[in-house]
Structures are given as C-alpha cells and as structure tokens.
C-alpha cells in the first residue's frame, strides 16, 4: 500500500460546527479498534511526535472515561473526557476537553469500517456548539497532532504490536 492512500483529511463542514477526520489504515478493523481502547497501545501513538503520554484513567467502555497528560520540553497538557459508547470494532463516542479550557467540550464519534483485504477506514466526526468554537479547534494546531498520531499508529500496526 502506498503512503498516498494514508493521507489524513480534515474537513470543516461549511454549514454546521463539525470537523471530520478521515484516514485509512493497512490493518484489520480489530487491530485498529484495539489500538483505540487499550491504554498500553493508546499511549504509544496518540498525539504529536515528541510528547510522552501519561494516562491517569483509561476506562474505554460504555459509561467509562479517561484522563491523560501529554508532556514535552515546553510543558504539560491535560485532557479528559467520557466514553459515551464503546461498540467493539464499530464505533466509539466520546467527549473531549483540554483542561486548560474546561468550558470547551467536543463530542466525537469514531467509526471503524472494514475495507476488506485487511484494511480499515477510520472517520472521526467532532461537533461543538458554535462555529467560533469549531474554528478555534481547527486553528489550534490539532492537524499536526492528528497526522503525526496516525503515523505513529501506522508504525505500531506495522510492528504487529496492535
């Protein structure tokens, strides 16, 4: 599989305050899903390169929640949220907040689609309650974290770790 098909697309809807992230992986759905729910795997790929991730809570089941800290030489960034639903190999619905801006909350729906031939399409749709909040998310540099995170996930899947 060429790296070209591994492009991460990040699309802001013109009409509603959503962001759609889409990405394909050269690994089966079960592996991509597992890398989203098992803490020991998540901390090896989530977020931009060069950060360490310390997980305080990762209870990836319906009604559970999470809390973690990303660290680099510039400081610490804490995040938390709830798992509204975890539907194995299909769908994860979760909330997300950066602790530095606790009034900002997004609702994220991640869907896992089996493309056949051991490949998977991931779509993550985030919604917030205003266009201003959506545009602030977009301009926060999230694209770097998302793209580098998925590259790290590629590497994890290729190594057979996930």
């Amino acid at each position: 599989m060429s790296t070209a098909t591994r492009e991460t697309t990040i699309t802001a809807d013109p009409a509603v305050p959503t962001i759609l992230i889409a990405r394909e992986f050269d690994a089966p759905v079960a592996n991509v899903f597992r890398a989203h729910v098992e803490a020991d795997l998540v901390r090896r790929w989530l977020g931009p390169r060069g950060l360490t991730m310390e997980i305080d809570r990762w209870d990836a089941q319906t009604g559970g929640g999470y809390r973690y800290t990303h660290r680099d030489e510039n400081g610490e960034y804490r995040f938390y949220g709830s798992f509204h639903e975890v539907r194995p190999d299909e769908r994860i619905v979760q909330t997300f907040t950066f602790e530095g801006f606790p009034d900002g909350v997004s609702l994220e729906t991640v869907t896992f689609t089996d493309l056949g031939d051991g490949r998977t399409r991931l779509e993550a749709l985030s919604v917030v309650d205003s266009m201003e909040a959506r545009d602030a998310m977009l301009s926060s540099g999230m694209d770097v974290g998302v793209k580098e995170g998925y590259e790290q996930l590629d590497e994890l899947l290729e190594n057979g770790a996930a």
Copy 2:
C-alpha cells in the same frame, strides 16, 4: 412569583444544530443543582407526568454516567449517557441517548445562574451533529417532557424536598 415567569422556552438556533432550553425557578441555585445530581430527587421530576422512572445508574460526577428507564402504560423508554463534567452549583455537561436509537447522541450543557432573591435561571444547550438530527429531536415531543418535568421540579422545590 407568578407562574408566567416560569415559562420554559425552547429555541432552535437557525444557524447551528442546537436547542436552548431556558427556565427560571423560585429556589436557590444549590437546591436546583442538588435536584439534578441526587438520584432520589431526579427520579421524582425528570420527564413528563404519568411516567415512573427507574434508575439503574446515576453517578453524577465528572467522569461518571447514568442509565434509567421511563415506564408508562404504553411501554418502556431507556436512556443513558455520561457525565463529562459536574461542577457544583454551576454547570453539568452530559451526553444523552435514547436506547431505541443508539446512534443518536446529543451533548448537553446545563448552566445554573444565581438570580438573587433565592431564584435560579437554568439553561440547557443541546448540540447534535446535523440540522436533521436537531429537527428530529424537536419533533419528538420533547417539549412536553421538558415542560412537565420542570413543573414537577417546581413542586419538589416548593415542598422543600430538594
């Protein structure tokens, strides 16, 4: 206080897929808040009149969740969600799903404002990811449940129970 000022307003935003519910209560913030987080109080007012509410889980704290069943002579209606944040006397952020339509998830932010003189303004802002989903929520008959529920909450607060 006249009942006129207790009108519940339900407003659909023309530009984004949100619903804003606003209501004032003739009771202090602490009492109105407590009636939202303590299961024994919640089950006495939430939802339309004539239903019984059975709570399977009500863990109203940041990172917690809930699950309950409304019953009437026509049947059962199950709901569940997560408490993303519970900020005492100020704010509750939660997700919400009707189990009969599990792919429909809304994110709701309830804010409690002290109006002075022992009165409280409640605002509940719900967001979903499309205008179609928002309009479906509006046409589901939710307004009856919201208005009757808040009338039952008035009665609970007047009785000094909350």
